[in-house]
Subunit: 733 residues, 2 copies
């Protein structure tokens, strides 16, 4: 049943392509039309794009970054408010501002450490003497780290509590890690130390609690971030881009995105709130992140058996699992780890800053461009690299608008989201508040959060329909520091795939997760979206992410010295994202290629057939047959150009609504706000329909009839959604 719907999509894409050709023909031959018709049928102006590209400037980006990062700006702090003012001042500037800009506030539930009562982690012996204290703040190398507003490293949404127990080493805190330990150890009453990676932050504690573990520590192993390097003296920041021994990755330890007290409702003052005790998906036991210098002291003193080889990190000792507890040969013999966590939750006002350029011809169609504004500390890379790029984009475009040189066909909405670090809160609340309007009118969402992780190659993820416009833009932008190489060329060299239609092309990623503010746009609203950045050459580092991520070392100094000297990576991202933004806003016919979408869906189907067909047949579930009578290859009937403006709009609406047609608000009741049946997150790790893949994995494991019924259900859900999408693209009546 899926196959026949897929054919619908493939064929419909062809019809639209024909429509596009006719559309262009109609426009060029319509030059004798009245002057307003010229406006209505105007297409994207390539010379304007060239002008835009030439004006995007590295120095402006650099100075944006300097201004945005001169103080820590964690959500709802004074530093955050200062960045609100920066955004408003820029976007309201009479010379290069937007048509309108304003602040929108939400009352959101955040979690903080207590400044007067810092979280403490210690090693204490049986007489309660403190043998070792974990460092409370990261070591200061520059004035930035000395700023009193640098927040103590903590696990946001970890509960407060005072717990004590024998230490165990639980690798990455995955279910299988605890299961492994549990085979030989009694985990009740223990504290688990885990390393980042492998499982979500909060999951490490959620997975631990059922075994009776009472507290969880998390650290970043030098193996995973520093390519094994761990010496303070010369190897790490400020001598290189690597994380210093005291560096700690902060983070939000929640599973669901958006304000946790107001699911599906915008968090306004009067809004209904669940009780904080009813929040699900946050650590049930105290949790605290620590630096690897302390983790080294703890782990290398552990007793018990040696951990499996895949659990070993970069420390120059054997990682034992714990007795539980420390080795009798260590100074910590018979000692416990004690955690005193004083985090508290508070509803605070968090601001999005919104700005618009109004569309000339179709003001009721929106291209949205956004990034969060809040950081954990100074956040030079995360998120200020993206904000600096956004401000440069709006400076160049804003000036063109103010000077009357340009006005986009469609409206452009810029969003500077608040409280992303706590769980994509600002963008999620925005999509909840404006759900109806955005569902009706949003063409696309472009997210540029961390603009530059490194400057080797572009990394982009998007709905496949946007692949072609991304490729087009990247071919027109020079790679950083390489005038004669395009961003496209550098990308295809670094990461590529072979497409049945296009041959060798750069590899575009999918937006299946919830790693940044695109999540609510993709999963909740079904808006075709793009997330992009410049990133590493993986042949040069194995770091999970750039090493200063969420630490006090993510500063202007770090960014300009180690991440993107000269800001040429930022410039390339600004040019690429801006190029795409202009094309989405100005193209007469939206630059969405449905056959590229169909190619991916067909690959998904092929994967499903090859992985699941046999078992499905055994359970009498039909994955469908090719039914030729269902073919929807409508002959194009676009002979008349009489109603051109409405015909263009009609085709564009089909394209705009394609992703919306894949939404099913009831398909994933256990995954907050995930409604897109193609891109929903999946734990099965298969490149195929996520609901089907997860249900199949569960049924295969349990063998229960009710689980096989769920497989059949998800097959029907995806089949109906694909047919809905095909209907959206097919001839309109």
């Amino acid at each position: 049943m899926i196959k026949k719907a897929l054919i619908g999509i493939l064929c419909s894409a062809v019809v639209l392509a024909v429509g596009i050709l006719i559309g262009h023909y109609g426009i060029s031959s319509g030059s004798s039309a009245p002057s307003w018709m010229q406006n209505v049928t105007k297409d994207v102006d390539e010379s304007f794009i060239e002008k835009f590209l030439s004006e995007v400037d590295t120095v402006h980006i650099q100075e944006n970054l300097r201004e945005l990062t001169d103080m820590p700006h964690m959500a709802t702090t004074a530093g955050d408010e200062k960045t609100v003012q920066v955004m408003l001042k820029r976007w309201q500037d009479p010379g290069y501002g937007l048509d309108d800009a304003w602040r929108e506030e939400y009352d959101v539930y955040l979690s903080f450490p207590n400044a007067n009562k810092p979280n403490k982690v210690t090693v204490v012996n049986a007489e309660a003497a403190v043998l070792h204290s974990i460092r409370e703040k990261e070591k200061a190398y520059t004035d930035d780290q000395k700023d009193p507003d640098v927040v103590q490293p903590y696990a946001a949404y970890s509960p407060p509590g005072n717990v004590k127990g024998r230490l165990v080493y639980a690798n990455q805190g995955k279910p299988s890690d605890y299961e492994h330990l549990n085979q030989t150890l009694d985990l009740r009453g223990t504290i688990a130390i885990t390393r980042y990676g492998g499982a979500g932050r909060g999951a490490k504690a959620i997975n631990a609690a059922p075994y009776g573990v009472v507290g969880v520590l998390v650290y970043t192993d030098p193996l995973d971030i520093n390519d094994g390097l761990m010496s303070d003296a010369s190897e790490t920041y400020p001598h290189s881009w690597y994380m210093p021994p005291s560096g700690v990755e902060r983070g939000s330890f929640n599973r669901d995105f958006g304000d946790l007290l107001t699911p599906y409702l915008a968090a306004k003052e009067d809004t209904y709130r669940i009780s904080p005790e009813d929040i699900t998906g946050i650590p049930p036991i105290p949790t605290q992140p620590i630096g690897f210098e302390d983790a080294y002291v703890l782990i290398c003193a552990l007793g018990g058996d040696a951990a499996p080889s895949t659990w070993q990190g970069a420390f120059n000792c054997t990682y034992n699992v714990g007795g539980p507890g420390f080795s009798s040969a260590s100074a910590f013999n018979n000692s416990d780890v004690k955690m005193d966590i004083y985090n508290y939750g508070e509803v605070k006002k968090s601001a999005n800053v919104m700005g618009v350029i109004k569309g000339s011809v179709e003001p009721d169609r929106y291209v949205i461009y956004g990034n969060h504004r809040d950081s954990w500390v100074h956040g030079a890379i995360d998120p200020s690299s993206g904000t600096s790029v956004m401000l440069e984009l709006t400076r160049v475009l804003g000036r063109m608008v103010k000077e009357g040189v340009w006005r986009p066909r469609r409206s452009i909405i810029f969003g500077s989201w608040g409280a992303e670090e706590f769980g994509l809160i600002g963008s999620a609340e925005y999509t909840e508040q404006y759900f109806a309007k955005l569902s009706e009118r949003a063409i696309a969402y472009i997210n540029v959060d961390i603009a530059v992780f490194a400057n080797a190659t572009l990394r982009a993820s998007a709905m496949p329909s946007l692949e072609s416009v991304i490729f087009k833009a990247t071919k027109e932008v020079s790679a950083p520091g390489e005038a004669s190489t395009s961003v496209y060329d550098a990308w295809i060299r670094h990461s590529n795939r072979t497409s049945p239609t296009h041959g060798l092309i750069p590899k575009l990623g999918y937006l299946t997760g919830a790693g940044s503010d695109y999540a609510a746009f993709v999963h909740y609203l079904g808006i075709s979206s793009i997330d992009m950045s410049y990133t590493y050459d993986r042949s040069k580092t194995n770091a999970r992410i750039y090493p200063a991520y969420h630490t006090a070392y993510d500063t202007f100094d770090y960014a300009s010295k180690y991440i993107d000297p000269g800001f040429v990576g930022h410039q390339a991202v600004a040019r690429t994202a801006g190029n795409i933004l202009i094309r989405l806003a100005d193209s007469l016919l939206l630059p969405f290629n449905c056959s590229d979408y169909a190619e991916i869906l067909e690959a998904y189907l092929n994967t499903a057939v090859s992985l699941y067909q046999q078992q499905l047949q055994a359970h009498k579930i039909s994955i469908g047959k090719l039914q030729t009578d269902w073919w929807r290859c409508y002959a194009s009937k676009c002979n008349s150009l009489s109603f051109m403006p409405l015909k263009v709009r009609r085709i564009n609406d089909q394209l705009m609504l394609l992703d919306r047609a894949f939404l099913d608000p009831l398909a994933f009741p256990d995954k907050y706000a995930f409604r897109h049946v193609i891109w929903t997150s999946s734990s099965a790790g298969k490149a195929t329909f996520p609901g089907l893949a997860d249900a199949y994995a569960k049924a295969e494991l349990s063998g229960e009839a009710s689980d096989w019924a769920k497989v059949h259900y998800h097959l029907s859900v995806v089949s109906q959604a694909i047919e809905g999408a095909a209907n959206t693209l097919a001839e309109v009546i």
Copy 2:
């Protein structure tokens, strides 16, 4: 928080009105535009409407009805297939057919009595001797009732079973009725006889089962249908329109609409199905409807105390509640009622017949007009009166299209739904299969099921935005048999209200229930809808519904003699519905009046404030304050007419999507497919926001904090939905 959003809606409506004026001005002054522009800007043609009205013909309607009702046509029977062929033949006629017509099939779960083993209800004594047998089929007065295809009266979706017990009289089978009986009687093992009315068909058994009742009988009391008359000899059909003593109302005893095995999925061959045992909302115990001649025998023999006065019906005896069981003075002393029910469920192919007239300018906007085709027996009134009207509409419009006289601006889709009597199945499956496309493109849905209950006055229910176009049409159509009186005048005389804006106007109903095929369009899709018919003068009858409803007496003979002699009521409905249909399809700007919607919302709010404000404040729930800074009275900025075609489309899209903005798929998890937060069914019986009203009623009763939290939740849901609707109507950017 609601108030401020309401103001948004009110003000936005004003802006749209301004837009409409400017639109019309722009069009009339645009007469020098190219010829295709004339088409694009063409408004509804009043002379065409006059022509349409003059051609709607009573004789054609009469002959349609004769053809549709010449045999019983219960869903999926041979008679049903014959009506499929009638529809296809008409709609595919080269002289007066539609552009296209086709059959769409679904595999739906139906419930039937066993023709070889009829359901039996008997009175048996302790020795198992049968003292009385309930009539198995209705008494035949004409050849129609002798047709072997007349289905035995039964309760669709009642389980089979053989049960026996003492009889009790349970009034209407409401929870309060059983609760009352339970105060003095042990209901375990009893059979309850109930009368129609007060509770849903299936609810009478669902409410009974928790008390241990083992079977339920249902009958129609002459008080509720015949104005008390009950004599066969002269008072009832065939001597009058009243139900004869053996008449039985058949019906579907399910709670949820749509195919019961495929919730939210179109019931195609390969679709995932739940197991029939997992269906909820159907009778858990055997249930059977019987005629009042048998009910009389049973009830007048009951022992026990006299039932309360409000429980007494029209029989010339005192209705006792039962000992349980019969009076010792009766011939049935010490006897039980025995029910032998042999209903079975079966998945069968049910067809919708679809037809379209393609739009000329906006083919991607749909006005949908529908009625079901299936009946319980001959179904002359229900549904063939509506089908006869639909066929007359399509004959007149189809001929105009075939002759090239007319083509609507927007596409018109006609739906002849299957299996409505089993729970609105054909229309619900259609909305599930085409959810995406219909969500994107449907302007409105017009439902004319029973076209004529009687011919005294129009009865219409609709979203309030459609009030004005309904009024306009009704002013242009003559009332049946009264050339000088309009349908509007007859209506306002019969049923009216005083509007703050318009003064005295006819009273339009709301579509809060699921009584016919509008349900999925209103509640699941949020499409602005209308349901209409001609109906009684309530000063002349108290009948719940026309007396032959769902009986074997609902025949051509009955309809033409007693319901609408001369078919003038049918004609008036055809003219009114057709007039509205043409206006919705042809008007340049959609004839939706948002301020009429706002008037009703404001009334809902006022009701909520007056009923709930005090208690809400006591529970610290804010119903919101008038915040003047939120006023959205945007000054109209429609100075330029440059982009007229797109501007008109923009305003129309705002209007089309208004009701969609009220949808919340998660707000009513216990009410299948109900998503519209304004019109969802409510048991609280208050003219205010249904989720709020129901939650309030529950919280007031229980006093529990968790129930008050639900009240707050529903207040936030409706508040966010109204704000979403206001955003839909507000200036687009």
